[in-house]
Assembly symmetry: C2
Homo-oligomer: 331 residues x 2
């Protein structure tokens, strides 16, 4: 019997969390939807029941067993310790705790063991890091990963529900022959691509690119892994994609690489009907295709990987973490 | 005084060729628009004058001084020798002659000298190869290019005018809540990305990726260059973009890299307002940004480059070739 709080319940990931909890029959006696003052008072229907969204305050976590955070890192830093102090297990989807030594950074299929002995706050990785590690881990296990060059094709919903609304307004302006306006995004995303995600830091890399480096190192336990990324936003509703070029310690042929994915949960190879974001949207698996010998890295492979970033990249991974941490068998 | 034929005049590149000839005041006494039987008879307005499109036959090149081909490679193979036999200089935008030793493959700013002594047919490179070589040549000159990993974000108009129509129909179906249909493209391009351009060959690389390798080697005169690419179609009207990760023989810092672009015609660096396809569409320059130290290649650089693939990537480059080959000074 458990009381589950969802913080940031009205956002794109929050809504997906409610969906995944219901689909996976997560045992919930009381569902407490929390959000900032902007959204408090909203009524949300989850699993056929109406829930009024309450203001996320420290006391709102009284009696909560599991708190799923899908708010910003500021909210997480402020409220996750309060939830923890009241006895809740916290699974946080922000970047606030991802590099904290006491907080495991977990993709359950890859490093679920890290959950055992956690200090009460478990971090859900960045969506791009989940996609990359799920796609590369089977090959790493076979051939020993050395270096990665990764270019991303990231869906608009990764920037949240308001970004989706902005994109839709831009598409309508564009169709009417008007010049679309960009507010949340640094440039128009309608019928365009934007060559950075989040901010650009002093070293020229975007926040997303550095997250991808640091989180991939931590999840795969490869502290010296070299990884160079270009993260790009594309006008796609949901599902991130990545072009991955990888070098390995030992030779691995494309046929052996395909075999390496066999029996791995949550990831599969599709070479005949190559995976596009539209194909993968709304589904749970990471889908890999276009596995070929790399022409620069020897030994090396190039591949293409796609994942619904709201599901496995955020909500599903968080619920999988909670299931494992609370020793709940998914049904 | 010259008679100029444009073959494939009704296509996306053909229309752009007419525009560029007019803008650059290319000396044209007679403009002869040629096309397949599907388009023959169409009337096209260029520079305020109506022109009836004629059927492209060998005899249609009688008296032609310059034949600009923007048709498929089958048409080019069939008709370019006929045009040549009748004394026309041929600039061909297809892949038919790009790897023929007697036919120079030219980006005028980079290897314009190759035009001197040509055998009458000059090949216009693949648009992705033009973008890549224009963006990397200044850095190669400074530091000695060794290896390239390139991921592309290619506009729909690169697949031609009919592909643009298909995309628009898909967008309308999508907006109406219907499932869009893909005919020309192997998957829906509306609000999606497609992880290959043209066909996928036996080695797992797409035709476009192998063109990019072979043509880049030839244009830069680097026959052993290692280049691994993933070419991806994105829902953008015009302007291709590339994420480029490059290794060099000698160290080159980002600041020095920016300096290396100084004084280079046809390419410029924009770090403050980072270039997106929308910014660059309809303009002539290759625009480079996000120059940073690579995290895998040492010494190495990562950068982002954008170019209107119908202009510099096709029509403009072809007209520049013709200007140089016919010793016409652009006005």
């Amino acid at each position: 019997m458990s009381t589950v709080a969802v913080v940031g319940a009205t956002g794109a990931v929050g809504m997906e969390l409610l969906e995944v909890l219901h689909e996976r029959k997560f045992p919930v006696d009381e569902l407490r939807l929390l959000a900032s003052s902007r959204s408090a008072g909203t009524v949300i229907t989850a699993a056929g029941q109406d829930h009024e969204v309450r203001l996320a305050t420290p006391d709102a976590f009284d009696g909560v067993d599991l708190a799923l955070f899908s708010a910003g890192s500021g909210t997480a830093r402020e409220l996750a310790p309060a939830a923890r102090k009241r006895g809740a297990l916290v699974v946080d989807n922000s970047s606030a705790f991802r590099l904290e030594p006491d907080c495991p950074l977990v993709v359950p299929e890859l490093n679920g063991d890290a959950i055992d002995g956690h200090a009460g706050i478990i971090a859900n990785p960045n969506c791009s890091a989940i996609l990359l590690t799920m796609a590369i881990a089977p090959l790493h296990a076979s051939a020993g990963l050395k270096q990665l060059v990764v270019c991303t094709y990231q869906a608009v919903s990764g920037a949240g529900a308001r970004a989706m609304d902005e994109w839709e307004r831009q598409e309508q302006a564009d169709a009417a022959g008007e010049t679309p306006a960009a507010e949340l995004f640094p440039a128009v995303i309608a019928r365009n691509v934007i060559p950075w995600v989040q901010a650009i830091e002093a070293d020229g890399y975007s926040t997303e690119e550095t997250k991808l480096l640091l989180e991939t190192r931590r999840i795969l336990d490869l502290p010296d892994l070299a990884l160079s990324a270009t993260c790009v936003r594309v006008p796609v509703r949901r599902a991130h994609a990545q072009a991955i070029h990888a070098s390995f310690e030992r030779p691995i042929a494309p046929a052996a690489a395909r075999t390496a994915f066999g029996g791995r949960p949550g990831v599969r190879v599709e070479e005949n009907t190559l995976p596009t974001p539209r194909d993968v949207a709304g589904t749970d698996d990471v889908v890999v295709g276009r596995i070929r010998e790399d022409r620069v890295f020897r030994p090396g492979l190039a591949l293409w990987a796609v994942m619904d970033q709201l599901r496995k990249g955020a909500a599903l991974n968080a619920v999988q973490i909670a299931e494992r941490a609370m020793r709940i068998r998914a049904r």
